[in-house]
Symmetry: C2
Subunit: 120 residues, 2 copies
């Protein structure tokens, strides 16, 4: 993965992969411990299914997410973050802080961290 054609700015390059309404929500779900297509679909925001499929492919292509078959007959897949994907945690963390400070009624960080521990 090298720079793209927009610019060599690290922010612009990051946004080329993650700059939309849905991609970082998938990463969020993965950080929360969700692993299957259906779990992502069941998140409260309700990502359209074709968008979810496309984003999972893009994230795999970018090396942020890995898909593994965890069961044959019937075949089932689990998605998980790679190191590259887990290193997006600080971006999400900063968004949680900003959202908690400036958007009234958002779920506080502590409740989110509790959900993560639950997942493990």
């Amino acid at each position: 993965m090298g720079v793209n054609d927009r610019s060599r700015c690290p922010v612009a390059c990051t946004l080329d992969l993650l700059g939309d309404k849905w991609t970082l929500l998938v990463v969020r779900d993965l950080l929360l411990g969700k692993t299957t297509y259906t779990e992502f679909q069941n998140s409260p925001e309700g990502v359209p299914t074709n968008i979810l499929a496309e984003r999972l492919k893009r994230l795999q292509a970018a090396g942020v997410v890995a898909r593994e078959k965890y069961q044959e007959r019937p075949v089932r897949y689990a998605y998980q973050l790679t190191d590259k994907g887990r290193d997006l945690a600080p971006v999400l963390s900063a968004m949680v802080d900003w959202g908690n400070r400036y958007v009234e009624g958002t779920i506080p960080r502590e409740a989110i961290e509790a959900m993560m521990k639950q997942g493990r």
Copy 2:
């Protein structure tokens, strides 16, 4: 600004405002000390002019950016971040780190910080 209709997740709420390819680049430019419409347009990514106008309005409406007339005859405007806008710095900072680590050829943080000091 309260929660929206997608969910009460602070990440989702933040993405409702900032989750696209261009908005955070405007915030980046403001953090770098740029203030005018023309300066934003001249950034290397080349934001379409109608998109730029729309994003500046949204950011103003959200209280992230303030516009002030710094000159009459001819009338000229300067945009600047509010406290709420400046508090997005950690989000951008995390993106810089991630981009620098995982996207080859991106401008290093140190060079960006040097640009900020230049601006002041």
